[in-house]
Amino acid sequence: MSTFKTTRRVAASLLAAAAATFSFQAHADGHSMDMAGKTVEWIIPFSETGGSAKWANFYAPLLSEALPGQPTVVVKFMPGAGSTKGANYFQEQEFEDGTTIFGSSGSTQFPFLLGDPRVKFDYADWNVVLASGTGGVAYLPPDLAAKMDGMDASALKDIDFIYGNQGATRLDLVPTLAWEMLGLNVESVMGIKGRGDGRLMFERGEANIDYQTSSSYLSGVTPLVEAGTAVPMMTWGALDDDGNIVRDPTFPEIPTFKEVCESTEGCETSGEQWDAWKAFFIAGFPAQKMVFLPNGASDAAIATYTAAFEAVKARPDFAEISGKRLGKYPQMTGAAAKKALDSATKVTPEAKAFIINWLQEKYGVSLN
């Protein structure tokens, strides 16, 4: 017992030290909402170990500094049912004083789009205050990459590919559908716990095709590329202002899937299959992670949070610290965030029907 008192003292002194640090940072704003002395709970519907945790842990201290009154921002993890549990919980929260916020990810968007029976939440009820984009890169072992003729992947069609897959209905459906469109014969080995395990499988030579989101690619695969044991194949690309797929700003030298598809016989960049792929790419990557206030949030609260995230983005060192942690992707607020939310959570009925049918045929996954 006595030892435990010590922890509390230690923690209290750490808190005091932190408070002292923050109070030096002057802030000039005239928001209506003063959050001094409050604690903001940021619900992340995943475990402490995933990409969303990294993202939230990156933003939490910055947000705390930028909100008026410097409230404590704590990240609260609520994993379960592939993030549906936490999202359902957030749906039930009523707006009180803006101290509950929610961070969603592509894995929250996909079950919503696909009509998973467990989804009891609706994005339309929530108020977006930040949308963070990312990208993804597919890569191959050097001997297989050498078979590609420039951007033409036709020579890879007779190879047995193995891919470590996190789950048929997860973000992994974007790469697996892309490879199928190129005519590649990719067998998914299921039960991978995270994309890191997939990369390890690739490094061990068990898998011979893989993809990583941008930040994991930068830290985990770039060294392999430098060592000559992996070669980038294509990125999923990024969206320009008109909604066209263009080269990923973080990897301008790597061609996009769209370019590879255009150069490969049998792959079409129009039609039902392409539209479905593009719809789910847009839902999964350019606005992968978003911050929401609950249903019924006051305009003052939305304005306060929007301004706070804008202040974070305006930090002189933001480009440097976020570039390393999140990659060079748009961090959208205000109208841009709303537009991103819109495109990320609305797919045409045709695209949805196509994907549901494809999942049923390819993996036997039934979503009804």
Binding site: T49, A53, K76, P79, A81, G191, M201
Partner: protein, 675 residues
């Protein structure tokens, strides 16, 4: 040679970084915080690191590392307190310590067991760090040799330890392990997400049961209830024998066992994907196999403490290899550790394949900070062990409500759902019955822990092997039967044969008398019915899904075992060991309280929580338990209750955790902590 020339200067600059007073100060701070959090079952590195995360942003890298490494390193040391003193497996790394540590505490030798454990932990930590200093330079290609078939084989090797812990009737042990595996497969399958023994209409089970709940339920609750029924202190001896010096001497006398188990710990820790769940069982099995007189295991054999404790701290060191070299966390706490490293300084430390090239000095600093933290932690723990061991002489009725409070809180943290408490009670009841009828609880837990890895690796290995065989027969065989697989296969077969031969001597649950036929048979039939239903449930998953194969296979084997047991029960007289029943003879039979009223107290805490929320229920529970069951004065009961609630709130506040809400909270709006 070239490698060493590169490594030496890095090692030198690492020591320069570490040996600054301010760094050592942060390390000690981290160690003290880690000890305080690790003492509580279910709260370990994850809770501790989450507490530190907000302070890591922009912190000087070496200071932040000292703080975090200090905290992570001592968790496997400090959770020994709960394992030895209360029979509660503090984390997956100290499950096996319970088997002999707790019986030692019951014999009044808690201080001896603790200090032997701490000395082993320290030594394991140091061996781990020394080994890593050299090994980390050449680790990458070796780790990559461990493909899916090798991982599957190590999991099977871990499962083979069931052979040693099966108890007097080997088939009972195997069925117990199978039951553990079936309970481990509850929820969404890893392969295509098909549900086993659960439904979306009742979402709690779809994520499966958590180790915290099963560990606490199967070990802690039966022991707490049993001690409470006897209404005495944990230690049967009025005088505590065996001081801390004796424990250190025990460790010294078994130093080679400690060396071997440390190396086992590092090696298994190095392999990504397995982590802590198998290490201590393999080390325990090794300790048993290398001991001449095996009859004392399970009754307080100090070698059974030294083995697992040497391995579990060494494993933390080994676990750094996948974490730092591959950026793949070996455990939940390592995952947060990776996340936190990115926050340090200006984010210049990039965990992953480039770590050795760019940050070798930082890598070495982490390795040796870990070793140093072990030294500091051990000194504090050994100094405290004599005093803390006195807890075992307190009348248990005064300790029990506090323990119920702690384990309820710990269980609730795993899923933040009232169902966590229901699951805890249900598994606890299963544990009580398994203990009563002498079914091996360690075997059950091994099965539970290894069910998921066994299933996933088996499915993946089969799928990848099929693809390799399609390429050519030779490549397929080369993939499955690599030299490592063959070596592991031989070790496993030897260990199973030896284990089953010795199992009769190793009574992990103590000696249990046999008596009437009816109760053991009824329990067996209930188990059989569950397994049969699990088989039916798995069989109703569509046949193209891989999620049905593993539970069907396990349930099928178990059903054969159950059939053999039923036939044997019909043929044998009621004095046969197969009819073991604790309620007929020995300390449970002589207990001053009956099982049901004792269990009722715990169920009442649960029921009240469902109605009024945890804190209000806890107040009522603590007060009435003290007053009615422990028979203390009203003032004493009030003070005890107040202390308990203040303590609980303090802890929840510090860790930013919630309490289970009840029905009352649905309709009202109370301030924290009553909401």
């Amino acid at each position: 040679m070239e490698i060493i020339m590169e490594a030496l200067p890095a090692l030198g600059s690492a020591w320069q970084l570490i040996l600054q007073p301010v760094v050592l100060g942060y390390l000690v701070l981290g160690v003290v915080m880690g000890l305080c959090i690790g003492v509580f079952p279910g709260l370990g590195g994850i809770a501790g690191l989450s507490l530190l995360l907000p302070f890591m942003f922009g912190m000087d890298p070496i200071l932040g590392l000292a703080l975090m490494v200090g905290m992570v390193a001592v968790v496997p040391t400090s959770d020994t307190f709960a394992s030895v003193l209360m029979g509660i497996p503090g984390s997956s790394a100290s499950q096996a310590t319970v088997l002999d540590g707790f019986p030692m505490a019951k014999k009044g030798q808690a201080a001896r067991a603790l200090s032997a454990a701490f000395a082993s932990s320290l030594f394991g930590g140091l061996v781990g760090a020394s080994f890593l200093t050299v090994f980390i330079l050449i680790a990458r290609p070796i780790v990559l040799e461990f493909r899916t078939p090798e991982l599957l084989m190590i999991t099977i090797f871990g499962l083979s330890m069931v052979g040693i812990l099966a108890g007097r009737v080997a088939i009972k042990g195997i069925v117990a392990a199978g039951l553990g595996m079936l309970i481990g497969t509850i929820g969404e399958g890893a392969s295509s997400g098909d549900l086993r023994m659960s439904s979306y209409d009742f979402p709690y089970l779809t994520d499966g049961l958590k180790l915290v709940i099963v560990g606490l339920g199967i070990f802690a609750i039966p022991e707490i209830i049993s001690l409470l029924r006897q209404d005495r202190a944990i230690s049967q001896e009025p005088e505590l024998g065996g001081g801390w010096l004796e424990g250190v001497k025990d460790w010294w006398a078994n130093i080679w066992l400690s060396v071997r188990c440390s190396i086992i710990g590092v090696i298994v820790g190095v392999i990504p994907g397995l982590g802590g769940s198998v290490v201590d069982w393999i080390a325990y099995g090794h300790a048993v196999q290398t001991t001449k007189d095996k009859s004392r295991f399970g009754k307080g054999e100090v070698r059974g403490v030294i083995g697992p404790e040497s391995s579990n701290n060494a494993k933390e060191g080994g676990g750094l290899v996948p974490t730092l070299l591959f950026g793949i966390p070996g455990s939940g706490s390592m995952a947060i550790f990776i996340g936190a490293i990115a926050l340090l300084g200006s984010g210049q430390i990039e965990v992953g394949p480039a770590m050795l090239k760019n940050n070798l000095d930082i890598t070495y600093s982490i390795v040796w900070l870990l070793a140093l933290a072990n030294v500091v932690g051990t000194i504090i723990c050994i100094a405290a062990s004599g005093g803390i061991a006195k807890l075992t002489t307190i009348r248990f009725a005064l300790l029990a409500p506090f323990l119920f409070m702690i384990i309820s809180f710990a269980a609730f943290q795993s899923g933040q759902n009232l169902m966590d408490l229901v699951a805890l009670l249900a598994i606890g009841f299963l544990g009580i019955m398994m203990r009563r009828f002498d079914w091996s609880r360690p075997a059950f837990l091994i099965g539970f822990v290894l069910a998921r890895p066994a299933e996933t690796y088996a499915n993946q290995a089969v799928q990848i092997a099929q693809s390799q065989f399609r390429k050519s027969l030779g490549e397929g065989f080369e993939y499955i039967f690599s030299p490592i697989v063959i070596i592991l296969l031989i070790i496993t077969v030897i260990s199973v044969v030896l284990g089953l031969r010795q199992a009769k001597n190793i009574l992990a649950e103590g000696d249990v008398q046999s008596g009437s036929k009816r109760a053991p048979l009824v329990f067996l039939l209930i188990i059989t019915a569950y397994i049969a239903y699990a088989f039916y449930d798995a069989a109703s998953i569509p046949s193209y899904s891989r999620d049905r194969t593993f539970p069907m296979f396990v349930a099928g084997v178990c059903l054969l075992g159950c059939a053999a047991l039923i036939i044997r029960m019909m043929l044998k007289p009621e004095t046969n060991t197969i009819f073991a029943d604790r309620e007929l003879n020995g300390e449970d039979a002589d207990a001053s309280h009956r099982l049901w009223p004792t269990l009722f107290w715990f169920a009442a805490l649960l029921g009240l929580t469902a109605l009024f929320g945890f804190i209000l229920a806890l107040g009522a529970f603590l007060f009435s338990f003290m007053k009615v069951r422990a028979g203390v004065s009203t003032i004493y009961a009030i003070i005890y209750t107040a202390c308990g609630i203040v303590f609980m709130c303090g802890m929840a506040w510090l860790l930013n955790r919630d309490f289970p809400p009840g029905l009352l909270q649905e309709y009202t709006n109370f301030p924290w902590p009553f909401n």
